[in-house]
């Protein structure tokens, strides 16, 4: 594995099919599952590690965002990453950035409503990675389902010649969705109320429940957070709240527990004429990574 700091160095080895796994580092099994997905269909895997200041709406969150490049490099190498792209701030932003990329119509609700500026920061930095690294495919987790929808639409709208792949959420044996921010969770039993709620909703969907309010209520009954930003059923294409499960959707939750903001969701895919909950991938043993 090469560790490089410039887009030129990444592109130098571009073969016919390069897969990109964009991350903010502090890798966990969720990120590694994206590498695994990329290995199945790409000749060459590039992982980027960049904590993008532009997408943090909360300066405190940026400051305490966990970082450990040495560990990330070891994990990426082991997972089969060919090039680890770790751009310094002055490579990503050589001059004051004046250009922004914004995808309207996908970013007004849910996270967009609660994190002003966040999605413009994400769209802009992802567009930069796509423009400079020229991958054929890019891999994103379904954990940030609205982000996935936005990136997909951004890539289509800007004519980037690549496919955006969404991969299942990876969960701890107890159900908690993996996140680099999990290291800050104090009261784990209460954090588990989210996945417990989503599981209840998944069972209800399997039993034929299609009403949005009922599915949301099933989640809310379980929730035990300090504050809840939203619980909502939204369509996968545009991340807009819908009243009935009548197209591919996801049931999303966001809230705070102590100083940690947690998000999670249950993708509801349409397979033939059936709605199938994507319960994600459950680790058989607790993640060593998030317990560091």
């Amino acid at each position: 594995m090469r560790i490089v700091e410039t887009p030129e160095a990444v592109r130098a080895g571009n073969t016919s099919l390069t897969g990109l796994v964009p991350t903010m580092g502090f890798l966990h099994e969720g990120h590694l599952s994206l590498v695994q997905a990329a290995r199945a269909s790409c000749d060459r895997i590039v992982m980027s590690v960049f904590v993008n200041p532009l997408q943090f709406d909360d300066p405190g969150d940026l400051e305490r965002y966990p970082r450990d490049l040495e560990r990330d490099a070891a994990l990426a190498e082991e997972a089969g990453v060919d090039v680890l792209y770790v751009p310094p701030l002055e490579v990503m932003y050589p001059v004051e950035p004046l250009t922004t990329v914004a995808t309207a119509g996908v970013t007004e609700q849910l996270e967009g409503k609660h994190r002003p500026g966040h999605f413009v920061g994400v769209a802009t930095v992802v567009a930069k990675l796509f423009a400079s690294l020229q991958p054929s495919r890019a891999y994103f987790g379904r954990k940030d389902h609205q982000q996935l929808a936005m990136v997909r639409r951004m890539a289509l709208d800007l004519s980037f010649p690549l496919a955006v792949e969404g991969c299942p959420i990876v969960r701890e044996p107890d159900g908690l969705a993996l996140s680099s921010r999990n290291v800050f969770i104090g009261d784990r039993p209460r954090a588990l109320s989210i996945s417990r709620g989503l599981e209840a909703a998944a069972d209800a969907v399997d039993q034929g429940i299609r009403d949005g309010d009922r599915l949301v209520a099933l989640v809310e009954e379980q929730l035990d957070l300090d504050t809840v930003d939203y619980v909502a059923l939204a369509d996968q294409d545009r991340a807009r709240v819908i009243e009935r499960l009548d197209r591919p959707a996801f049931l999303a939750v966001a809230g705070h527990l102590g100083r940690v903001r947690l998000i999670d969701n249950l993708p509801l895919d349409l397979v033939g004429e059936m709605f199938v909950p994507d319960r994600g991938v459950r680790l058989s043993a607790p993640s060593a990574l998030t317990r560091l």
Copy 2:
């Protein structure tokens, strides 16, 4: 020369150094001079012809914008274009476009002030061309100097791995800057008041005049248009009005004559410690193209 309709077909032949000449068609010697510049340093030249609806702030202007693909193809072939990219509307916009690219700080003044939405439309479509065609270089005329500044900054900010080249304005023997819209000029002598004013300012710069107001006044003395949108000295980097010629700049004019909106400018380059007016390229015989 191949004529193609999809980005895939353009990229299929991408060699080490592809030069892109983006146009809205109805080619004149100004466009052809960009091809000539590209030939000097590129292995392969792609010209795009696309009248982008998103950048027209005036629907009437879009409707009457002149088009003649057959003539464009013949001229492009003769000039040495390798691939003529003529995307149908449904290739450029397969779905309702929700994503916009905006470069702040370069687009607030001059044209940006008088054509709301124009630069977002330009930045977005140029980003699409850069993303989908992956050129190594892109060529723009200095006639739209603010556009050139914006595209350059956009490409840098979004990390597109390409160089943006600005080429001299091409002028008729009588001084009129070439433009596809020149076919609509009724009163040519009055239109010439613009280039006459810029020539007077160029002479003044040669004589050491550096004061913005004096240079602007020299142009205004000559101007004989129906309405004047602006006459201004602006810096090349950010297209913002400056009071003195103390850095690379351009002296810009925009106004209306009948139903035609005319723009022109005098680039003022810093060569060593000297300010050198770029008077452009003067055709020795009238352009056959704009008299059609």
